[in-house]
Symmetry: C2
Subunit: 147 residues, 2 copies
DNA sequence: TATTGTTATACTCTATAACTATA
DNA sequence: TATAGTTATAGAGTATAACAATA
């Protein structure tokens, strides 16, 4: 007998949906951007001189998603592109002041919400949770690799 | 500074994707059905005399998703509908023998994979994990409710 | 007038791959 | 021939609401 509620895929997907939604509201309503856009905005705010490929690796988005997120963020005025004289196929992505301001406005609110979600756990418990999640993740990756 | 990898929405959504995918492979390849279909199949195998509304509550799917999943499962011969003489708007959903066989073939494999994912955790740790996830879920629901 | 379940529609996401320009 | 990034396209999934039958 399968109890859906004791079933990891079911639990995690429900949890991921609610948690994402509860936090994503912040950038959606304040900046009017999507999840992919937000991830790219975080990346370009952390590292100067990122290229699209770097961002893809950094975010687990694929190059197509990154390309489109970049286009949307550029249109919003949150980032701009500079030619890379070394390799003309590549572009260097730079946050604009508006992109920095957006990030600075929103990220503390995001962190606060993230923190709020963890308030019921002590720091030891948080570490334990982290450990459990890592173990489960690596086992599930093994399963996927095997098929 | 936001570290995506230490950020709950990011972590959970990555985890949910990989975990779901690692387990969903079983019913996708063996039965050729989707996640929604699978959830409905579980529901009708557990409870006789379910109606579409019951299933919606039981699975966190909405009535439209349930309606379509029912249609697909019926087409596959996994369930059938009987008129409810009490209320003619409703239908009683019954698993067919083929639907039972499908469930019996696949559910042990699903449980085995679910169990495999948890192998690195003791039963105490599993309970702790469960508790942490519940706490986080209820806080995120609070956030969503507030907006 | 409200409810059960179906159908329609439009919108977003995702996955794949074709394409361009450079290397 | 391979790589960086863009564009096209089709399929799946999602959300909203209109709708028919019954209550």
């Amino acid at each position: 007998m399968i109890d859906l509620h004791a079933f990891l895929p079911y639990q995690f997907s429900q949890l991921a949906d609610v948690v994402s939604h509860s936090v994503a509201t912040v950038y959606e309503t304040r900046l009017g951007i999507s999840r992919d856009d937000w991830r790219v905005l975080v990346a370009v705010n952390q590292d100067r001189h990122m290229r699209a490929t770097d961002i893809a690796q950094h975010t687990t988005l694929d190059k197509m998603q990154v390309s489109r997120a970049i286009a949307r963020l550029e249109k919003k005025g949150f980032l701009s592109r500079k030619a890379d004289m070394g390799d003309k196929r590549q572009q260097i992505l730079v946050v604009t002041p508006a992109g920095q301001a957006a990030y600075k406005e929103v990220s503390p609110l995001m962190l606060a919400r993230n923190d709020y979600l963890l308030q019921d756990l002590t720091s030891t418990e948080r570490e334990a949770l982290q450990r459990y999640l890592d173990l489960i993740l690596s086992r599930s990756q093994q399963l996927v690799a095997r098929g």
